[in-house]
């Protein structure tokens, strides 16, 4: 299998597996979205974004994108660990077996908590609402406003840090289930779409 970012490859497998179990297959855009939300939760827990393992940009639609993640999906597909069916990614049997092994490795097991918190927000919010909510996040909304792709977390990410710092002061960071702060944050953002 060609080389790719190992964190991105693990995240892609894990997200497709979880979103697939919840709503049946995952679109590529959803993999970027949940990976970004996982990274937001990682920062929320006061980890430095530089150690997440790969970077993100915002598209002109105001949605997160990650080139390393995109490449990892291609590599996983070429290795038949992920398949595409009706435009949606699904994890194969060999992909599930690989994921099980990878999950047991220390550096990956730490990522599961963030991915689980992010993908479980689908229990409380429909995908369309979740996506619309994220598009209200100022750093992402700016991408849409200027109408071109730009890098995220590249020195101009003060808005997200401010938000997460305020969120953690309001509700703390010691949640046993990161779905809760994720949903609380997204619920506020989704209210902005109605104002």
């Amino acid at each position: 299998m060609p080389a790719c970012n190992p964190d991105a490859a693990f995240d892609a497998l894990c997200i497709v597996s979880r979103v697939g179990a919840s709503v049946g297959g995952a679109y590529r855009t959803e993999v970027y979205l949940f990976s970004y939300l996982s990274c937001v939760l990682y920062i929320y827990r006061q980890n430095p974004v530089a150690t997440w393992g790969y970077d993100f940009s915002v598209t002109r639609n105001g949605l997160p994108f990650s080139a390393p993640l995109d490449h990892a999906i291609d590599v996983l597909m070429s290795g038949a660990l992920l398949n595409e069916h009706n435009g949606k990614l699904e994890i194969s049997e060999s992909g599930s077996a690989e994921l099980e092994i990878l999950q047991s490795l220390g550096q990956n097991s730490r990522r599961v908590e963030y991915i689980d918190g992010a993908t479980a927000s689908l229990l409380a919010l429909p995908m369309g609402v979740l996506r619309g909510a994220l598009q209200q996040q100022p750093d992402l909304a700016r991408g849409r406003k200027i109408g071109k792709t730009r890098r995220l977390f590249a020195g101009d990410h003060e808005d997200l840090y401010d938000e997460l710092e305020r969120l953690s002061r309001a509700i703390g960071v010691e949640f046993s289930d990161l779905m809760i702060p994720a949903v609380a944050w997204l619920a506020y953002l989704s209210r902005l779409t109605q104002e």
């Binding site: 679109y27 855009t29 479980a120 609380a184």
Partner: protein, 362 residues
């Protein structure tokens, strides 16, 4: 872009039901919330919340206590909710068991709110009915789940569609037909009768449909009022992220509208308005084909039909009632598009969809 307000986020997060449950019951509360949310989603995947007659009470024990649910009669144990659609019941009480199975009571409760509250000292309780919406109860504290989407009785019960025509049919039956969507309720001049629309109802119709589509599609950007050209805005444009496919939705309404300030009729649109909408949409699609070469676009004409018989001409005064026969005169009367057949046969336009908005018939 709406202004982001950190103080408002602070307040919103603090009062969120998940945050409050964690504060009240710690990790066991958070675990119970996750298990209940999974159960609620699984239940509504089998039974739409709109079809429920009574209340749903789902609880998950937090502190060890005697068996909850005593006094409700003989429970049934279920591994999942697959058998629920064939059951006839008013209220259902469900205990989420540690092994992932469910203990269920199919009952008719005299006071479901009291029952739900009585379980809450020892369990996290989810309570739903169509009037109260979604509520979590813990330690006798009621936590309302914010209703961030219109039209669905429960915020946890929303279908997902891949096909737009299918979604529009669902929108008609679940939201538009009887004005179940609270946004759409605002289109009526006389909501207790639903004979006349308010003047300029198109904005609310568009918003109602737009919210529904945004909620029910996963891979789609839904945007209102897209300017296809300077003179011809379309009402809604949907763009599929993965394929780049585009759907252009043109909305027209039929019936009589009244200005609530003057109580005078302002418009009386008949079937001709729908036909002109078909021609207008065909023009949009032609412009789109020239402007966006390589993108597959399909047009959808959605007609909100509030026509009633016996209302009189637009110059006459507003009638407060008509016979049942007049109120329902157009219910089954499809629109004749034969004079604009060429526009409909162009190959990139779906058959127009008529959403008859039912009057209140006593």
């Amino acid at each position: 872009m709406t202004k982001f307000n950190l103080d408002a986020m602070f307040e919103s997060a603090e009062s969120h039901y998940g945050v409050r449950i964690q504060a009240l019951a710690g990790a066991p509360g958070a675990r119970a919330l996750r298990n209940i949310l999974e159960s609620v989603k699984a239940l509504y995947a089998r039974i739409a919340s709109e079809t429920l007659l009574g209340s749903v009470v789902i609880f998950h024990e937090i502190s060890p206590c005697g068996p909850l649910g005593n006094g409700l009669g003989q429970p049934e144990d279920h591994r999942d909710f697959s058998g629920f659609p064939s059951k006839k019941f008013t209220d259902v009480v469900i205990s989420v068991q540690g092994n992932g199975s469910y203990r269920c009571w199919f009952v008719s409760l005299e006071n479901p709110r009291d029952l739900a509250t009585s379980l809450s000292p020892d369990a996290l309780v989810y309570y739903f009915n169509r009037t109260d919406g979604d509520v979590f109860i813990l330690h006798n504290i009621w936590m309302q789940v914010p209703k961030f989407i219109s039209g669905f009785s429960s915020v946890f019960s929303n279908p997902t569609f891949d096909d737009l025509s299918e979604a529009l049919v669902h929108y008609h039956h679940s939201q538009a037909k009887f004005s179940n969507c609270w946004v759409l309720r605002g289109v009526w001049y006389d909501p207790e009768k639903r004979l006349h629309l308010r003047a300029a109802p198109e904005e609310l119709m568009r918003r109602s449909l737009e919210q529904f589509l945004r909620t029910c599609f996963r891979d789609v950007e839904v945007r209102p009022e897209q300017n296809m050209s300077e003179t011809n805005p379309v009402d809604i444009k949907m763009t599929w992220y993965s394929s780049g496919r585009i759907a252009i939705i043109e909305i027209k309404w039929l019936g009589q509208s009244v200005d609530p300030d003057t109580n005078r009729k302002t418009q009386n649109y008949s079937a001709g308005r729908a036909r002109s909408g078909a021609l207008q949409l065909a023009t949009y699609l032609s412009q789109n084909a020239e402007r966006l070469i390589g993108q597959q676009a399909r047009g959808y004409l959605v007609v909100f039909d509030a026509r009633r018989g016996g209302l009189g001409a637009v110059r006459t005064s507003v009638k407060l009632s008509v016979s049942q026969q007049d109120a329902l005169q157009y219910r089954d009367q499809e629109i004749d598009y034969s004079s604009v057949k060429a526009a409909l046969d162009r190959g990139d336009m779906e058959k127009p969809i008529r959403l008859f908005l039912e009057p209140v018939v006593v």
